[in-house]
């Protein structure tokens, strides 16, 4: 109880300091909460950016496409590397080495290759989401009881059947964690891609407001984008809980 009160007090204190500092500072650089709220209202009423709906939808579509591709490729690659010892020993360390490179180094090449439109954002979101899914599949497969696999094989199951019927259900618990991390990273990939260079989508609106020093609009756009991110995470969390309850 006290903890919750202290937390609320902390939030209030931060907002108060922000309000005081924001009023004192140059309005081009700092926006107090009292000025951010009207900007948020204007934004939501489509007064400042009439194409807000289309931008949100585009960003959401990029995220969904990137994530779907990341899950499909992650399951396939993780499954292949996990089920075959030679492939796993050869390519597993190479994937791990690539994971040690900050992913943003690939973005200029993706932008050059796929252009400034949605494709380069989808590619970057895919790249970021792909690794956690693949690594979770690999980690999950290592935990599967080898006896189950042996029994299934001795009853004549092929590798695909073994993967679909034995390995996947047994790894589900580990997998859902990786799927959730993958979604969070796909979202970050798309947003980073949009802010580093795009013509449409939430990142483009944020860059537009920032470039014109419309700082209040910028804060409002960031709040809306944050709501989108938190929203996807909440939905993912609900799905994760359902899946875990079902796999037990």
């Amino acid at each position: 109880m006290t903890v919750v009160l202290v937390r609320l007090g902390l939030v209030a204190a931060v907002l108060a300091v922000w309000e005081v500092a924001g009023r004192a500072a140059n309005p081009l650089l700092a926006v107090p909460p009292s000025a951010a709220l009207p900007a948020l209202r204007d934004l939501l009423l489509l007064r400042s950016y009439p194409d807000l709906g289309a931008s949100l939808l585009l960003t959401l579509r990029e995220i969904a496409t990137a994530y779907a591709l990341a899950v499909a490729a992650g399951l396939a690659v993780g499954g292949a590397l996990g089920m075959n010892r030679l492939l796993g020993r050869a390519y597993g360390p190479m994937l791990a080495a690539l994971y040690a490179v900050p992913a943003v180094v690939w973005y200029p090449s993706l932008m050059l290759f796929f252009g400034l439109d949605a494709a380069s954002k989808i590619a970057f979101g895919f790249l970021l989401g792909f690794f956690p899914v693949t690594l979770a599949v690999l980690a999950g497969i290592r935990q599967v009881d080898p006896h189950l696999v042996t029994v299934a094989k001795s009853y004549g199951a092929g590798p695909l059947t073994v993967f679909g019927r034995v390995v996947l259900p047994a790894t589900l618990f580990t997998l859902v964690g990786g799927l959730r991390t993958g979604l969070a990273l796909s979202v970050i990939g798309v947003i980073v891609g949009e802010i580093l260079g795009s013509k449409r989508g939430m990142g483009a609106l944020i860059n537009h407001a920032y470039g014109l020093l419309r700082t209040a609009d910028y804060v409002a756009l960031v709040l809306v984008t944050l709501a989108l991110i938190v929203g996807t995470d909440v939905v993912a969390g609900l799905v994760e809980r359902k899946a875990r309850a079902w796999s037990e």
Binding site: L86, A97, P102, V104, S109, F113, V187, I188, V192, Y210
Partner: protein
Amino acid sequence: MERVSAPRVRRLQLVSVLLLLAVWEATARAGWADPLFVPAPSAVARALGTIGGPALAALGDTLGKTAIAYVLSMVLGVAAGLAVGSIRLLREVLNPFVVALYGMPKILVLPWIVLLLGYGTAPAIFYGTLHGLFPVLVLVTGAVRDVDKTLVTVARAYGATTWQLYWKVLLPAIVPSVFAGMRLGIVFCLLGVLVVEMFAGIRGMGYVMGALANGFQAAELFAATALVSAASIAIVLALDHVSERLSHWRG
């Protein structure tokens, strides 16, 4: 499952890389891929020669900023982690905020950071520090919280001062988490610095890569990407090596 010998693994790795390069080179030479977008590996190797000197200078600039951000984030992260982990009220109040900030895409505040700090070195160091700080903070907080209470009680019973408690009991207990945070942190710091250089840079590898992409100089861009990747992998491997040595020494 069948055993797999190490030479077979090495052979497969070597063959796959060579095959990939050969197919890539053939595709580019045969004209199936537009060299404007997909330069042949031989062209990338030549480009590495042409951008060599300036690219190395830019890489040095980026790594210098990364080093400052890295030291800052480790010192701040360990200090804050010790404080938040060992003081119960602080931990209970701050933990949800720390976790939320860790997960939030920090790119959303980057335009504001650039507005405040301008173009160049300062925002890169600030943003790099912001990225590197959270993994080590979260890891150290958890490690301090999980320190065996008996150790603390015994140290107290033998009359240890608060200073001795931190220095002799808590600090040794968090060493593995600090190493884990150091390994994650370096990639995060480098990522943060590169992002700022791409977004609002005037120097450094991120700026160079952004400029090459805008200029459609694919071969030079691929060469620069390979250079940064190699540097990053080398740094992580070196850190792994050092932390393995040190954990041997710890016993």
